[in-house]
Amino acid sequence: MTPLPYRVVRKRRENHDNWTLELEPVAESIDPIGPGQFTMLYAFGVGEVPISTSGDLETSGANLVHTIRAVGAVTKALCAAGPGDVLGVRGPFGNTWPIEEARGHDLVVVGGGVGLPPLRPAIYHALAHRGDFGRLVVLYGGRTPDDLLFRKELERWRSRLDTVVEVSVDAAGPGWSGSVGVVTKLIPGAPLDPDDAVAFVVGPEIMMRFTARALIDRGLAPERIWISMERTMRCGVGLCGHCQLGPTLICRDGPVYRWDELAPLLGVQEL
């Protein structure tokens, strides 16, 4: 439960309010983190927040990569940190993307807004082990072109012959030559076999609800759709109850859930 000190070694601005930090352990490191898991990042003297890993776990070694949106006091302090600054890290917490469930099948990854970073380690894994999967389809939606994350990387993935990347934005000016509309509109035309596909979805809850609905309309079985949940988290180990959603504690039992198991809870107001 005690944060370990990690030093910022690299920092990259992703868009107007998102930054990616690479951290290396000052001395002792946390256990290896898996795709979909998160750490509690501590800005000393300000506070602690849960942040998913967004790095390439095949190559990052003991270093941690986190993409953070500067929206509150803690995340703004984290994003203000630069190379040489030290942050506290606890974790890793939560479960991982069910990569094994997807192995041998088409994998469709759907991200909305700042939902792409938690999916990125799973995408890196699929790209590094491309032969283990069927078709790899990455669908990403954002408000405007300026809000998109990892644009260069999306372009690089799209240039591969074995990967489909489609991006759509809600509104665009003259400089945008891609799709306009919410990310769900990309699902009907996505090249995948609905009988043999597994989907990983991350975004705001409402986006995940409509995306799951569109995937099911396309023919995917609800038990082949996985989402990653976000709730206020404090302890990260299932003790404080801040992240409770009905009978489940997201930090302990999640954040990755099968759609058919979680959907009934998401339909309950005030939960």
Partner: protein, 154 residues
């Protein structure tokens, strides 16, 4: 090369169309191509056509003073562009622009309206199919209005 009939009946909106109806619809259709950047139609102009997109992306643009041309939606392969031909005052609500090379089947809306007037069964069938197009556009617009990528911090 596939015939116009095949292109039409294989599209989601016309799927399952009977042979007689297909012949009536295909009689008002022709193949067309637009280069990237070319306009398919302009906001406010008479709407006597609609398009079934075979290849490429069409942007529906609106001009907003001080902000320029904004794209409110794009329409891609298998989808229909245009329903203004169906209902008075038969004028385009947006400007249609080819984002890239677009191949499409173009339908003469006035020709189809005349056939629908003469054959109410065909009219009812087409109206039902276009109602689906309208519903799907309405749902997409609602999702855009809901700003589904936003969160409580905004």
């Amino acid at each position: 090369m596939r015939t116009l009939d095949a292109l039409i009946v294989e599209s989601p909106v016309f799927k399952g169309l009977g042979q007689d109806e297909l012949e009536l619809v295909a009689g008002c259709a022709s193949n067309t191509v637009f280069a990237a950047g070319e306009r398919l139609f302009r906001e406010g102009d008479p709407a006597d056509t609609f398009f079934l997109i075979r290849h490429g992306l069409v942007a529906l643009d609106a001009y907003v003073p001080n902000r320029g041309q904004l794209t409110v939606e794009t329409v891609g392969p298998g989808e229909i562009v245009g329903w203004s031909w169906l209902l008075p005052p038969y004028r385009w609500h947006f400007t249609g622009r080819a984002v890239e090379l677009v191949r499409a089947v173009q339908f003469d809306g006035a020709c189809l309206r005349k056939k629908c007037d003469e054959d109410p069964l065909l009219g009812y069938d087409l109206l039902t199919r276009f109602a689906q197009v309208l519903v799907s556009r309405l749902q997409a617009t609602r999702l855009q209005l809901m700003d589904i990528y936003g969160d409580k911090h905004d």
